[in-house]
Symmetry: C2
Subunit: 507 residues, 2 copies
């Protein structure tokens, strides 16, 4: 271990002391409004009307029973939810949630002004300049978790790249174990059925030595619940809503409303559908257990009419992010958005898409921003180089959240007074006492001039990123409690493995 | 000509019909506020105090005489401007200006909600994937002008790449002639002394057949007036302020306040200095001629403390853009900002910097955004590929300025009603009647999936951009009036050439 640390002196310079500022973020920018409050209320009303009149399908009988008990009308798989039921559910939602991390240093308040970033999620493939593009595997998953541990601007762990070399019935155990033993930050779980969830919950409680009561009091895990737009919750998703509610864990309810494909072609139409589905999910969670921790979520964008692919960072995507924020604030809940790109490369397209989507999330005042580092190909690939270049984008946003600087007009005026016309401020005492920490220090950007840059090998941002993720992984240190958590889990992991893990629930 | 057009059928698909929407833009996003109104007023007050007590240097005797006549105190090159003089000057500024273009179709209203883009300016070098990086020349300048003509999202012409193969005493003639004969959009001039300006003004009037009165009534040209921060206006810049004022042309007064170098290291300090210099420039223009068309300008950013280079798209840059907008609105003037990047490549760094700077300009509600396409190396190089990839960014912002769509909640509700749970909206009548123009069509982005993209040659955004600027240049058609304008200019150009053009004024 010690030898390794000496081999990579670079990591110290990569990770500036300033990154500690990124550990807890609240929005510093005012949210944009695209529609008037009246029009937002009208969209909300249309969604309520839709739930009542058009209904929504729940494939899971247990979910329909819960709705029936609350007075909703049921017909086959369709559930017709009266607006009174929805309104009561909304009234029961907590507006502020404390998310517990394995290390309390990374606990987070989750509410309408918090800003949490997660790396790319849901990617079946992985790619980097050294090893190429390939199916996700255990090693790359572990590497992604380690990088998440090292970068303060990432607040919640993720579930990518998918470790496809681990059998599906054991994969949830591997992913939970990896998160718990290699990272201090908030745990994310895939919701692939009750069997896997219960084993994951047990593993978390055991690794962190948390009793049932504490576990249930505050979420120790989050999951993304995607509806099958339009108007369907499949079995694993509905079960996740129920199970996460029963156990006090956070469901982030996120329709993926692609305008023109799984949602109406207009932004208003896509937003009505998204809102309907969100409200239905929130209501199920609250009916399962009043006060269950839930988050609003939006992942609306448009489909590219030429290729049929989802587009990101487009005007339609940004508009829907802004509107999702307005709708979330209308019902008083924190909400989740995402950055990410559809590009096959981390090139000009990939970076424009990603940066636009990130600004859309910021301007919608999203409270949880998924896929914020490393997402390529609309989520089909986790890119290590893009992970690094995206971290720069996140750190810049994180700097924008900092409060206003101390008022120092008088000092600045003095500095101007002390500097002759056409002079410079380099050696002004006002500069000298502040310059070390005056500005955001670039993470991956190279600001040297063309000649110097060329003399240094003319490296692109991606080439520098390759060196960077390698250096970071080389310098990785496990959490202080990693050994203890691992020891606590060992017997339970053996037991679950002997049981054959748990198979996912079919949709 | 006809043969050429047949060789490049691609241009028709590159330029979507939708780009006509980008011809006249007004801001659709609310401006951000970083400081309170009180604090903005305090910065304004500090700037007024600075002009009164610390003074500002004007190297041009004529400028000092104008200030002296208005009652300012003069000592050597220093001018001490009382706040009453500044206040009266501000009161005399026009808040709304009509910018005349060679083709009236491209005339623009310039005020606090307009949004105008210009391509990269001020670049001595040029670069593209075919011909490499090289000093700017007449051919590349002409190509940049032609591309500006073809893309509706560019509203004002620019002065880059610098045609270095044209002798400096004739270069202004070449640039004005090229703009007038190859493009319909608003003319930009370099302010390099009275001799060159007067010849340029004459050329514009002659080419457009505009009499003195009409020329003076509304600006037919704009120029950027950069102060030499801190607190100096050199001779050509002060002369430009005076000459543009006397002739009714637009001065865009833009200090380049690099915090930590030519400006105080803090954002407040840099903003006080910027504001002082802007106010001084505005005042000189108004004293030269009351009601002279002027624009506020800000180009504040931070210096990279490692390399000493200017940084762009950084948190400090974005904050200063937001504050510049607040200061401009405080004095009621439209203002100019810029996109651009410090990167040596149009890679992840270059695109993140550019996109961030562009969003900073949007969130500061900048009314004129310079360097919005093609700016590399902090302005030292005009990149043709980056020009193309930046156009995508501009068009996406342009789409964000469009008004809210017609209210169609009922239609959208019907579409949701008509679509079964887990169905799709592809063939819904609501989609069918709208899909052709529902979404922004990508300009350079490739949204095909990895397999298709690979089968098509795995082209990066830059590679596609190379094909695109080539196809556009191939399809270029001169303005309808190009021949007439050229004919009108010929004799005058001969005359000016026989006079030896005009040498620039030394600082």
């Amino acid at each position: 271990m010690r030898a390794r640390k000496q081999k990579s002196p670079k990591a110290a310079t990569i990770l500036s002391a300033r990154q500690a500022r990124y550990r807890h973020l609240t929005h510093g920018m005012q949210p944009q409004a695209l529609f008037s409050d009246d029009k937002i209320a009208a969209l909300h009303d249309a969604a309520l009307r839709g739930l009542e009149e058009l209904g929504i399908a729940f494939a899971l009988p247990e979910a329909r029973e819960i709705f029936a008990k609350a007075g909703a009308k049921i017909s086959d798989e369709m559930v017709y939810i009266g607006r009174d039921i929805v309104k009561e559910a909304l009234a029961n939602c907590h507006k502020e949630i404390t998310l517990k991390a394995p290390n309390p240093l990374y606990d987070k308040a989750y509410h309408q002004t918090s800003l949490l970033f997660t790396p790319a999620g849901g990617c079946p493939n992985v790619s980097d300049a050294i090893r190429g593009r390939r199916p996700g595997d255990a090693q790359s998953y572990s590497e992604a978790v380690k990088l998440t541990q090292m970068l303060e601007v990432l607040h919640v762990q993720s579930v990518a790249p998918e470790p496809q070399d681990i059998p599906i019935h054991l994969r949830h155990l591997f992913m939970a174990q990896t998160q718990l033993s290699q990272c201090d930050k908030i745990i994310s779980l895939y919701a692939r059925g009750r069997g896997q969830l219960m084993q994951s919950f047990e593993l978390i409680k055991t690794a962190l030595d948390v009793d049932d009561e504490s576990f249930q009091a505050n979420p120790h895990a989050i999951t993304i619940v995607n509806s099958n737009s339009p108007r369907l919750f499949d079995k694993p998703m509905a079960q996740a809503l129920i199970d996460f509610a029963h156990h006090g864990q956070l469901s982030v309810i996120t329709p993926f409303c692609l305008a023109g494909a799984m949602a109406p072609v207009t932004i208003e139409g896509a937003m009505i559908l998204q809102h309907m589905e969100c409200l239905a999910g929130i209501t199920l969670a609250q009916l399962a257990k009043s006060g269950a921790p839930v988050s609003y979520g939006g992942f609306g964008s448009n489909v590219d009419m030429r290729s049929g692919s989802p587009a990101f960072g487009t005007p339609e995507h940004i508009k829907m992010q802004i509107l999702s924020g307005q709708l979330a604030r209308h019902i008083g809940l924190p909400w989740r958005s995402a950055a990410g790109s559809a590009s096959n490369l981390g090139d000009a397209q990939g970076n424009l898409e990603n940066t636009n989507a990130l600004w859309g999330a910021v301007l919608g005042n999203a409270n949880l921003v998924l896929h914020a580092a490393g997402w390529l190909e609309g989520g089909l690939t986790f890119g290590f180089e893009k992970f690094i270049t995206d971290i720069e984008a996140l750190q810049i946003i994180a700097e924008m959240t900092s409060g206003t600087e101390p008022d120092e007009i008088e000092d600045a005026y003095q500095a101007i007074s002390d500097t002759a016309p056409a002079g410079h401020f380099f050696d002004n005492p006002h500069t000298m006492t502040r310059f070390k920490d005056a500005f955001y220090p670039p993470f991956n950007a190279d600001l040297s001039n063309f000649g110097t840059w060329q003399a240094n090998g003319a490296q692109s941002a991606d080439m520098r990123a390759t060196a960077k993720w390698q250096a970071l992984l080389e310098a990785y240190q496990p959490p202080q409690e990693a050994g203890i958590r691992q020891d606590r889990m060992t017997a339970l992991l053996d037991e679950f493995h002997n049981l054959g893990g748990a198979m996912p629930l079919d949709g």
